[in-house]
């Protein structure tokens, strides 16, 4: 049985639950997990129950990285660090918006922690609001598509690049749709000494509006269209890339999600879809995916 126990309140087909499960399965029992507020934290710990089979602490929304820093410092001070891994796992909002200061400080101080960002591309726990990780033109409740709006007008914040710029020895992107790859990267990140970062793509059926059974399928399409490049960076250099055979056009990925359905309505949005295609093209070129 997994170290993330069943009975939790995650949606049927939940991406966060899968991310949590893969992380624990990759790392085993000798971990201390820190979570910020978010879906994963809320649905795993309704008092008096907890789904976590490992020591776990939740404080606030924006301070997971700071709390993890403190846990790591305490283990060192008490002589209890041994092989215990201190891992923070939190959502995109908590990590790259409100938690950006804390993770920047933690990485600059060089704590031996691993931070896993479960990126479902919006503030899901509060009802699908736009975050800094929401991709171009996605419709959320605070960046809705409408008569004069095409959805989120901003580009996705490039968090892996930011963490690499902090001098992190290991930064990787992963996807819950590629479980063995994700687990390998999480394991490696935990083994590398110093602050390491894994950014995990997590398609959310409730927020992106597709059927729960398609969670893995949607995740695969994101990778196959180069919308979500899978790569590793060690000491700032790209050292590992998952290449794509027969890259698919982004429409195949966008079409299956309700949050992009306004791009496929009566009005012709070809020019806008081209802008999204440009992102995929840039990824393919920059990371050498083909």
């Amino acid at each position: 049985m997994s170290l993330l126990k069943p009975g939790h309140r995650g949606c049927a087909g939940c991406c966060d639950a899968l991310a949590g499960k893969f992380m624990l399965d990759a790392l085993g029992e000798d971990v201390i997990v820190v979570s910020p507020t978010g879906c994963l934290e809320v649905f795993t710990t309704p008092y008096p129950e907890s789904a976590w089979g490992v020591p776990w602490v939740h404080s606030l929304f924006e301070n997971a990285a700071a709390v993890a820093s403190g846990v790591e410092a305490a283990l060192k001070a008490l002589g209890k660090k041994n092989n215990t891994k201190v891992v923070a796992i939190g959502g995109d909002g908590a990590t790259l918006d409100i938690g950006l200061q804390a993770i920047s400080g933690a990485f600059e101080r060089g704590h031996d922690i691993t931070y896993i960002c479960v990126d479902n591309e919006a503030y899901m726990n509060t009802g699908i609001q736009r975050s800094g990780a929401t991709p171009l033109y996605a419709s959320t409740t605070t960046s809705p598509a409408g008569k004069v709006s095409i959805g989120n007008p901003q580009h996705k914040k490039n968090m892996p690049a930011i963490m690499a710029a902090h001098g992190s020895p290991y930064v990787a992107t992963a996807s819950i749709a590629y479980a063995p790859d994700m687990m390998k990267k999480v394991k490696k990140a935990a083994q590398v000494k110093g602050p390491t970062y894994v950014h995990v793509h997590a398609p959310c059926c409730t927020g992106w509006k597709f059927e729960g059974s398609k969670t893995i399928e949607v995740g695969r399409l994101a990778v196959e269209t180069a919308m979500w490049p899978l790569y590793e960076m060690e000491n700032g250099e790209i050292t590992g890339v998952r290449k794509i055979k027969n890259r698919k056009p982004v429409e195949e990925y966008l079409k299956v999600q309700g949050r992009f359905k306004h791009l496929f309505g009566k009005e012709d949005k070809t020019e806008d879809i081209k802008k999204i295609q440009a992102i995929a093209d840039w990824n393919a070129k920059h990371f050498g995916l083909e």
Binding site: M1, S2, L4, K5, P6, G7, H8, R9, G10, C11, A12, G13, C14, C15, A17, L18, K21, T44, T45, P46, Y47, P48, E49, S50, A51, W52, G53, V54, W56, A179, E211, G212, S213, K214, T215, I216, E217
Partner: protein, 86 residues
Amino acid sequence: MKLVIKTVVKPGSTRANKTGAWRSFMPVFDHKLCSKCGICAIYCPEGIVNKLENGYFEPDYEYCKGCGICANECPKKAIVMVLEGK
């Protein structure tokens, strides 16, 4: 239930909550078609698809939410979602 201070909670205690009651559709596993690849077990968000002694897989229906990921991902189409009777 005595309140434990620090909001400290025992591990794995969500198992008291049987989420099987959530589903409308249930996955039916056909072992004749199964290639024992284990993908169903890997991608179950509840972690409740268990490997049997004979190498085949079976979900724990007490917790299965009926999400259908296992059926969608099975390379052999060995899992079918069936509307659960009353």
